[in-house]
């Protein structure tokens, strides 16, 4: 549901935003922070760090799950609750609140794929994707949206996917929202988000507050670097501890290399231990035998794992239609302090530019705000030298908006293709088309208009050499003339989806509507790669709900 849930007056938001962090923090300082992971390890959880192995391992379980993010975490809990034995394989390290120091230099290295520098093959899009226990849920910004109705309607009409309407999914959304504390955020937004509300309101654009999966949030602003207070209800502090408490096994720093296929079944999963840095394979191997195999390694990595396994792909669709919500950025300078590094990072959104046309029309985009931390800001702002330094020196006054473009609904936005490098690691080709750049141009204009309406004295659409503009007319004129092409415009992605799509027709889908591989009976995909288009909203809640349904079905079949 993308309709705004609550509305407050922008003036009230701005007036209260500044004091919130301090108040929120004071209210919580009395209670010590308990690290549920360290407590569980002392309690005897079965956790193996494969980088420390001195011999190869052979393991068995009812179900092995590759990946511990949104799909893998939900699946682990669901299957354990059904009394099945579960083994989780995770390429990244097990880090928890005691390790989360709110430092970019540690978090990008420890918690993200390729130190947060994963890129498309042509280097035009920088991809932020989690790689740690909890996956993307450990580092996301907590935004929780149900799958938008136009997206589900498109799946039904275009791909014949029945049984995935809003009413079909509602019980699953209710269930995971309750489990993960998804609720309206009633604290005032930080000034960075309040500016989006203020600007949209002045222009008469609809906006809303974002629901978040938090309990007892301190409103610190560091969700993206691992929640230091365990308020974020990520897989790391919810489903994975419960699965481990019920006897599940977790192997970290182990890369799933390939499923061994025999006939129409998976016979084993072969994994490679990684070294302590987590980037390079070490010598030890782990072989797993299970009744059912679940790939929940996330889009890009799940299709790559299936490609390495040479699973049947009779229609040549595996890895195609990989979507990114290509995202562009607009930086503004405000007269007063914004402190975009402080306070819940993402609490206000506008879907006006998604809703003004059908999904298959001109490219729509969702407007949100990001956290404004030094490294993230510095690597995103173009140019170098004095001009770059001058923007950085005004970091506390910097207000930043992002526009997430909805790919996958139009013939000129068919997404990318995952293929394999010589060493078996994934490469993503993603073509930025004129259709996408038309959306980029409109997104820059929309963001600049909102920022000036919110009081900006200067706006820099993040493009080219990084010029800034002092008024909305000058900005719009310049944006109209921008030379938009790959890598002249920095584009980022924090949402990777598709590549192993779900659907009834094997000509268009890798897995069936129950999450089973169309050709391999005991192989399942429960992660963002199952989406046949992008979601058109932050995808975590869509993954949770659909994974809960698919894993429940798998548990029933295995118990039956």
């Amino acid at each position: 549901m993308t309709t705004p849930e609550t509305r407050a007056t922008p003036a009230a938001l701005t007036a209260t935003a500044a004091g919130t962090t301090t108040l929120g923090r004071l209210a919580h300082t009395a209670a010590p922070i308990v690290d549920p992971i360290r407590a569980g390890l002392l309690d005897g959880w079965r956790v193996v760090d494969a980088s420390t192995l001195d011999r190869d391992l052979v393991l068995e379980a009812d179900v092995v799950i590759v990946g511990t993010g949104a799909g893998g975490g939900i699946a682990a809990e669901t299957l354990c609750d059904a009394g099945l034995t579960v083994l989780m394989i995770e390429e990244g390290p097990l880090k928890s609140s005691s390790d989360f120091h709110m430092l970019e230099r540690e978090a990008y290295r420890d918690l993200y794929q390729e130190s947060a520098a994963r890129k498309t093959a042509d280097k035009a899009i920088n991809i932020l994707q989690g790689r740690c226990v909890g996956g993307g849920t450990t580092v996301n910004w907590t935004s929780s949206f149900r799958t938008p109705e136009p997206t589900l309607a498109y799946w039904a009409s275009t791909f014949g996917i029945d049984g995935f309407g809003p009413r079909d999914l509602a019980p699953w959304f209710d269930r995971v929202e309750q489990r993960l504390g998804v609720a309206s955020w009633t604290t005032a937004p930080n000034a960075n988000n309040a500016a989006l509300a203020t600007g949209a309101e002045k222009l008469g654009l609809p906006w809303g507050t974002i629901r978040r999966n938090v309990r007892g949030c301190w409103n610190l602003g560091y969700c993206g670097l691992g929640c230091p207070t365990n308020a974020k209800q990520s897989m790391l502090v919810t489903t994975i501890p419960r699965a481990l408490s019920r006897g599940a096994t977790l192997v970290t720093r182990a890369r799933a290399q390939r499923f061994v296929i025999r006939g129409d079944r998976v016979d084993a999963l072969e994994c490679q231990a990684m070294d302590a840095s987590g980037t390079t394979p070490a010598s030890r191997r782990i072989t797993v035998h299970a009744r059912a195999y679940v790939s929940a390694a996330g889009a890009i990595n799940t299709p790559a794992l299936l490609l390495r396994s040479h699973v049947p792909d009779p229609y040549g669709i595996l890895g195609l239609r990989t979507f990114l919500h290509p995202t562009v950025v607009s930086a503004a300078l405000m007269p007063g302090r914004i402190d975009g590094f402080s306070g819940a990072p993402q609490t206000i959104f506008s879907d006006h530019f998604l809703q003004m046309a059908p999904p298959a029309g001109p490219m729509g985009f969702k407007l949100e705000a990001p956290p404004v931390h030094p490294v993230l800001a510095a690597i995103t702002l173009p140019g170098h030298g004095r001009q770059h330094a001058a923007w950085m020196q005004r970091l506390p006054r910097m207000q930043v908006l992002i526009a997430l473009l909805r790919d996958g609904f139009h013939p000129d936005a068919i997404g990318g293709r995952v293929r394999l490098a010589d060493d078996g690691t994934p490469i993503l080709d993603y073509a930025l088309t004129p259709y996408i750049f038309d959306g980029v141009r409109r997104a820059f204009a929309a963001m600049a208009a909102i920022q000036f309406a919110a009081g900006a004295t200067s706006v820099q659409p993040v493009h080219g050499a990084g010029r800034s503009y002092a008024g909305v007319d000058a900005a719009k004129a310049a944006i109209g003339g921008f030379d938009l092409r790959p890598r002249a415009t920095p584009i980022v992605s924090a949402h990777v989806m598709g590549g192993a799509p779900l659907g009834p027709d094997p000509r268009h889908a890798v897995i069936d509507p129950a999450g089973r591989h169309h050709q391999i009976a005991n192989l399942h995909v429960f992660d963002g790669s199952m989406f046949p288009t992008s979601i058109g909203a932050n995808p975590q809640l869509s993954i949770y709900a659909i994974a809960a349904r698919l894993a429940t079905g798998l548990a029933q079949r295995l118990r039956g």
Binding site: E104, K119, P228, T425
Partner: protein, 163 residues
């Protein structure tokens, strides 16, 4: 590999040049060539951000180059090799001149020389040269602004204290 294409297109090179020099700087993954190149480029990339000339500036540059080496270790092996190849290519004088028009050696380059070199890469129509600029941009700014030494000048107070 992305940057190897630069080489092929210019037809300058031999396969030997694709091998990063074995010498390593400190604990990081930066070669001796890489250190020399970044010693020339960091003052241009971070112009206006570094302390004024003096001991503090020298330390800031050295810490940034160390940070680049450490960051390279966190990259996927293929990305790490691509960066290493880029440094090997740029260490080869004909390519340094051909790609970025820089006649001074890396050891002798002024900040203005380095800035002109960077602008040539950045403004190129050739996507591989822009990719090289982006790589140098990202790894340098990430290393400097991850360093708490950089925070006072940008008004960033650092993370809040929890206790």
């Amino acid at each position: 590999m992305l940057f190897a294409g630069i080489l092929g297109a210019l037809a300058f090179a031999t396969a030997r040049l694709l091998q990063p020099t074995p010498a390593r700087h400190g604990a990081g993954a930066l070669s001796k060539d890489g250190v020399d190149i970044m010693r020339a480029l960091v003052p241009a990339l971070l112009a206006g951000a570094l302390p004024p000339p003096g001991a503090a500036r020298d330390i800031a540059i050295a810490q940034t180059i160390d940070g680049i080496g450490v960051a390279m270790r966190g990259l996927a092996p293929i990305a790490r090799e691509e960066l290493a190849s880029l440094f090997s290519l740029l260490a080869f004088a004909p390519l340094r001149i051909g790609l970025g028009g820089m006649t001074a050696s890396w050891e002798e380059a002024s900040v203005a020389d380095a800035d002109a070199f960077l602008v040539r890469l950045q403004s190129s129509r050739w996507t591989q040269k822009r990719a090289a600029y982006d790589a140098l941009h990202q790894i340098t700014f990430a290393a400097w602004y991850a360093n708490p030494q950089s925070w006072p000048a940008i008004g960033y107070p650092g993370p809040p204290r929890l206790t």
